[in-house]
Amino acid sequence: INPDLQRERDKCTFNVTELTNFIDGGVINTEERRKREDLLLKEGIHLEEVPSEYLSHKEKYELAVKKACLLFKVIRRMQEEESTGMENFMSVLGGTLGSAILSDGSPLTLHYVMFIPTLLGQATVEQQAYWIGRAFNLDIIGTYAQTELGHGTFIRGLETTATYDPNTKEFVLHSPTLTSYKWWPGGLAHTANYCIVMAQLYTKGECHGLHPFIVQLRDEETHMPLKGIKIGEIGAKLGMNGTNNGFLGFEHVRIPRDHMLMKNSKVLEDGTYVHSLNSKLTYGTMMFVRVVLVQDMCTYMAKAVTIATRYSAVRRQSQPKPDEPEPQILDYVTQQHKLMIGIATVHAFRLSANWLWHMYNNVIAELDTGDLERLPELHALSCCIKAVTTSDAAECVERCRLACGGHGYMLASNLPTTYGMVTAACTYEGENTVLLLQTARYLVKAWQQAAGGNALPPTVSYLSGGEGRRS
């Protein structure tokens, strides 16, 4: 151990294990996490003959697929041995461990983070019985396509159509223009063979807005794209080059009626449309992902500040007092200013993410009983918290990189790759300014409600002079 770093550890005023347990949410959680890490790292999947930075774009993808498959094999074994729930999948494929092994993103992440959760949230019991098992076993690989080349957060503007044909009891999916091509979903390019597609539903000549459909993209044996499916990869990006982002277009592709996810709205055999309780239920997946994103930001920031703080304890620079050795850069107040805020921000976001996660689960449970009252509040919160946390996280990682001077520019520091992952989050699931304006729309409405003498939900009650969240 570097003596400067050891000296820092010797003078610590609290028990580090107690802090770790607090962060993990209890001793048992820490033990389980460490056990998972031991198990997985013992497999050696993270080890690379040639560092992936030196591989071509195509080779990077091939390595990411190889690693993702090996990871899945281990998780399957863990599931069989422990028969635990989704935690293994989430933490290994989407969380800290996944990002360590697949540092530039995984082509299977969306399968677990969006495809399966959307099936769980928007498919009927019968549809779930058919699809969920196949998805969990990875008999099929799915992703989720909503954004289009010419359309983003404004989902009413999406152009892909799904027109019901009562004669054949099928939907016809079609991309009428280039701008209607789906653009960006992870795993879409060469990995997934199924996809949940958001399309404007037409039946009996009437448009009923955006609905989710499960569409087969590739043959399950040969992996060749099916007839009418136009599919490929979108090309190299600032970061996340292992995630296999793709584009997708449809040329009058026919799918069976029961491939529309019908938990909320339905189309009957004769083409009659049955309204959902609330059209906003369709957007549940986006809210879920925004909440998960806040948790991810905590992990990336925690990594960045760990790297920069340890480096700052080791690195010595300059000679402010004559005849004295170069001080550790951690002794410079400007350096402390860069790092300490990062550390505090991790804790602030982690606690806020947990709080938001609780709220999300409560609101979703209320929706199942037909209570939609807090849905707009959750939507407004998930929008602005996603926007502010991703933006702050990008700033934090960049500050940590600068705190490491030129060495932070090296890919070997892992800070540039981390920045690539974090800054990507500023634009997906809604670009941040757009999301802030969605929250603003809610706030203006709340203000007008308050002016009209109406009661406000807890997080905005301060607008009418209430105590707000803090009470």
Partner: protein, 192 residues
């Protein structure tokens, strides 16, 4: 109310900022509508302020959640750890107060002297947290394989690891790269 630099009071200040900004947005939209603009155009012209108000609302939520959750959850912790976590909350709240000092001046009774005190308080908090900096990040409990960084490894052997990583560069496989014979040498000899 007169300003004081306590965390609850700063949070009250952030509440006033968020409320004030949203109120101004609504007033501006209404004013623009009265001048003959439709709601959509009035909204668009006010959108920079609206995004700003939304951010202020979110800051308030993040700051107050961090404060209240830490107060609740740290009750069962040892006094030493609770103390450090409380300092971090204070640091975070004071930092954002200093970052948004213009807003506080606009919407609360904060004075020049209060701001000076806040700045001093911030610097004192940094000094108090300095001895625990490394322990605080050790608490995140990242294994080296997960951190994947030459600069951040637990043992602090930064320079050795940077050199090890440098040696993995494909350009270090041979002492003389082919491009020397192909381009550089002919170029230097004027034969390219």
């Amino acid at each position: 109310p007169p300003w004081d630099n306590s965390v609850p009071h700063i949070l009250d200040g952030f509440q006033r900022v968020a409320r004030g900004k949203i109120s101004l947005c609504v007033a501006n939209i209404e004013k623009r509508q009265k001048s003959g603009l439709c709601y959509e155009d009035a909204w668009n012209l006010t959108s920079v302020q609206l995004a700003n108000a939304s951010e202020a609302h979110c800051r308030l939520i993040l700051l107050s959640t961090y404060y209240s959750e830490t107060q609740t959850l740290s009750q069962n912790l040892s006094p030493a750890l609770r103390q450090v976590l409380t300092l971090l909350v204070e640091l975070y709240v004071v930092y954002w107060a200093l970052q948004r000092v213009g807003d506080l001046l606009r919407f609360t009774s904060i004075s020049e002297r209060d701001i000076e005190r806040l700045q001093r308080c911030y610097e004192e908090l940094l000094a108090r947290l300095r001895p625990d900096a490394v322990a605080l990040v050790d608490g995140f409990d990242f294994r080296d394989e997960i951190l994947h960084s030459a600069l951040g490894s637990y043992d602090g052997r930064v320079y050795e690891r940077l050199m090890d990583e440098a040696m993995k560069s494909p350009l270090n496989a041979k002492p003389v790269n082919d491009s020397f014979h192909k381009y550089l040498k002919p170029f230097m000899q004027g034969k390219l």
